[in-house]
Amino acid sequence: MKIAIPMEEKSINTNICVTFGRALFFLIFDTDTEEEKYIENPALSAQGGAGIKAAQAVIDAGVEAVILPRLGQNAAEVFQTGQIVLYKAEFGSAKHNIELLKECKLSKLTEFHSGFHGRGGR
């Protein structure tokens, strides 16, 4: 299964990025082959609707699940339409979270914020 994780650095050992729409990269990880690949976030400098555009890019990368700490309403709607499973990230590296996912220790992300809409969210 291919999964996506928002990242600030292109390293599986670094922490997951706290925001989704404005993450620098997305790690695309294949849990079957252990292959890791990074795609740039096309929505990084979008003036609005970043979550929507980022979600589109992640879905286009062919993932079935996303691990992330939080998500806005619009992006969540895109993922739900795409039938993408959303897991709530635990504190720590992407690698740590992938291990937790493999052990079925991650819970689903079910609550979404209304978006920051240009006001930042850090």
Partner: protein, 276 residues
């Protein structure tokens, strides 16, 4: 003459000044651009009210003509469109009604339809025309309603009651203004909020004057700032119990209070001296 009344924050007395200033002018109209919470009508209690819907265009993608090329999705700078599981998705709140998706579609699969975001109510109070912009709850931007309000200003003299702050709704509201009245409170907080709007009117090169509202016997840092920067203070309205009480009861103090009547007549006289 179009006079816009604005302030850096809510509650300084924009509506109080606008309504009573409009009352002091013959052949005037009061235009409530504070579309998120318009309340000037509470003072005017307009009669003969008619309502007109305000619509924006939103795209509708016709499935039988769409060949999934995604040109519309890629074009949209606001990212209001997505294409998931071979189906287009529209995020209406993000759409700015620019119509670009319709233009770039090679298959004429995008059509535009009207979507109502609010209304404009027009009524009368004595000889004053009262126009109120009302945005529907849940909508994201009142700018299209404000644009419609100021497109056809009805009278020789129009008083435009702006939304609070200095954001795009305010910029839209003062677009047609010949003069801006900035209402500010005599406090440090008032000074801070004033400076945001002051910056805006300077950038837009609008002539302006200041009304300091709710003035008491204590310090008046707003007046001090105006003296320091040599800014024109048009009026200082006292923090008087009877004016506050009459206003809070929903009365136009111009009609019920002789002192207030004089204040607003003087205010109009001063503005008309500057704007000819």
């Amino acid at each position: 003459m179009n006079i816009a009344v604005l302030s850096g924050k809510g509650g300084t007395g924009k509506t109080f000044v606008s309504c009573n200033l409009a009352s002091a002018i013959e052949k005037s109209a009061y235009i409530d651009c504070d579309v998120e919470e318009p309340n000037g009508h509470l003072f005017f209690k307009p009669t003969d009210v008619c309502s007109q819907k305000v619509c924006v265009k939103i795209p509708q993608i016709l499935a039988d003509r769409c060949n999934h090329c995604r040109k519309c999705v890629d074009f949209c700078h606001f990212n209001a469109l997505a294409f998931i599981k071979e189906e287009p998705m529209l995020f209406r709140g993000v759409c700015h009604s620019c119509g670009g998706c319709k233009i770039v579609c090679p298959n004429q699969a995008v059509v535009e339809k009207d979507y109502s975001i609010g209304e404009i109510r027009t009524g009368k109070h004595r000889s004053i025309i009262v126009k109120t912009g009302i945005m529907n709850i849940g909508e994201e931007s009142g700018v299209p309603i404000i644009r419609e309000l100021i497109k056809n200003l009805p009278c020789k003299n129009n008083i435009i009651d702006c939304p609070p702050g200095s954001a795009c709704t305010v910029m839209e509201s003062i677009k047609e203004a010949d003069y801006c009245v900035i209402v500010a409170e005599p406090s440090i907080f008032g000074v801070h909020n004033f400076q945001m709007v002051y910056k805006l009117v300077k950038i837009l090169k609008k002539p302006f004057g200041i009304v300091i509202n709710k003035v008491n016997d204590l310090n008046n840092p707003m007046q001090e700032l105006c003296e320091k920067l040599q800014l024109p203070v048009l009026e200082q309205i006292p923090f008087a119990c009877e004016i506050a009480a009459q206003n809070a009861a929903g009365n136009l103090v111009y009609e019920t209070n002789q002192k207030a009547k004089e204040i607003f007549e003087r205010l109009y006289a001063k503005i008309s001296e500057v704007v000819k």
